[in-house]
């Protein structure tokens, strides 16, 4: 019974995931694309919960679905709807055809690679109740992966400084352009 429920939740989340990803790349208005991406991130958080990643799921909803997407929506609202791009207008171009072919090739490669490894993937490791909790993830971050943790903080600092510099540069150009 538990197995059946997990399969049902998985199917719903996977379908929502794929449908919202297709929505992101096919909506004309970037605002709707960003809203579809929020749905995509939320359904991925459900999948992370099924895989025992409680802390990652919470971080996904808070950091990705919350902070990053709000920043996206701010920028989209600031720029307004100035892109008059219809994604599939004017019939398929040679670019789009080549892209779809390449994407199909990558997908076929993934599925063939998975089909060739049958048996190994269905084995599973035993996990205890503390798997994926904030305590155990935090312990790993501060012991085994301390260098990665510190380097990530430097990367975030550099990105913040870069964002400020880009904004200041754009403002200077803005004032130059003004008569």
């Amino acid at each position: 019974m538990a197995n059946f429920i997990v399969w049902c939740v998985w199917c719903v989340a996977a379908f929502a995931c794929i449908a919202s990803a297709l929505g992101v790349i096919s909506f004309k208005n970037p605002f709707f694309s960003a809203l579809a991406l929020i749905g995509n991130l939320a359904s991925l958080a459900v999948l992370y919960l099924l895989l025992g990643g409680e802390f990652v799921a919470a971080g996904q909803v808070l950091v990705y679905g919350g902070a990053v997407m709000v920043m996206f929506l701010f920028v989209i609202a600031y720029l307004g709807d100035r892109t008059d791009e219809a994604p599939w207008a004017g019939g398929p171009s040679w670019q789009a055809i080549g892209t779809v072919l390449a994407a199909g090739a990558i997908l076929a490669e993934v599925i063939v690679a998975l089909a060739l490894t049958t048996g190994n993937l269905s084995k599973e490791a035993h996990i205890d109740r503390s798997f994926g909790t904030p305590a155990s993830i935090g312990r790993l971050f501060l012991t085994d992966h301390l260098l990665a943790f510190e380097v990530t903080s430097i990367v975030l600092l550099v990105a913040a400084v870069g964002g400020v510099v880009l904004g200041a540069h754009a403002r200077a150009l803005d004032e130059d352009a003004r008569p």
Binding site: L51, T83, T99, L121, A125, L156, L166
Partner: protein, 102 residues
């Protein structure tokens, strides 16, 4: 483990990655290209977390959190560039941005 085994998650991760790549290559608006890159990163995150569950080790989840932090910084720089383009009244179309002159 109840429910689908890791192979199903990996197929889903591959579909997500390919969808994101399709968006990056087909769309021309830089905003939607950034959103599609997020889909690609999330596909790889799903594969990392699925393998973390398969192997019973949490290192994959730690890696996924690092990927999330990198994605956040990438969004900051990318949106900064797009706002700078918007302030200069450059048309937001990556096919028309052919030169890199300041």
């Amino acid at each position: 483990m109840h429910g689908p085994d890791v192979g199903w998650y990996l197929v889903l991760a591959g579909v997500l990655f390919v969808t994101g790549a399709l968006g990056v290559l087909v769309r021309r608006s830089p905003l939607i290209i950034l959103l599609s890159v997020e889909i690609m990163l999330n596909g790889s995150n799903l594969a990392l977390i699925a393998f973390a569950r398969r192997l019973g080790q949490e290192d994959g989840q730690v890696f996924a959190i690092a990927v999330m932090a990198i994605a956040a910084s990438e969004v900051v720089v990318g949106l900064g560039l797009i706002v700078a383009m918007g302030r200069r009244n450059v048309e937001l179309d990556v096919d028309k941005l052919r030169t890199l002159r300041g």
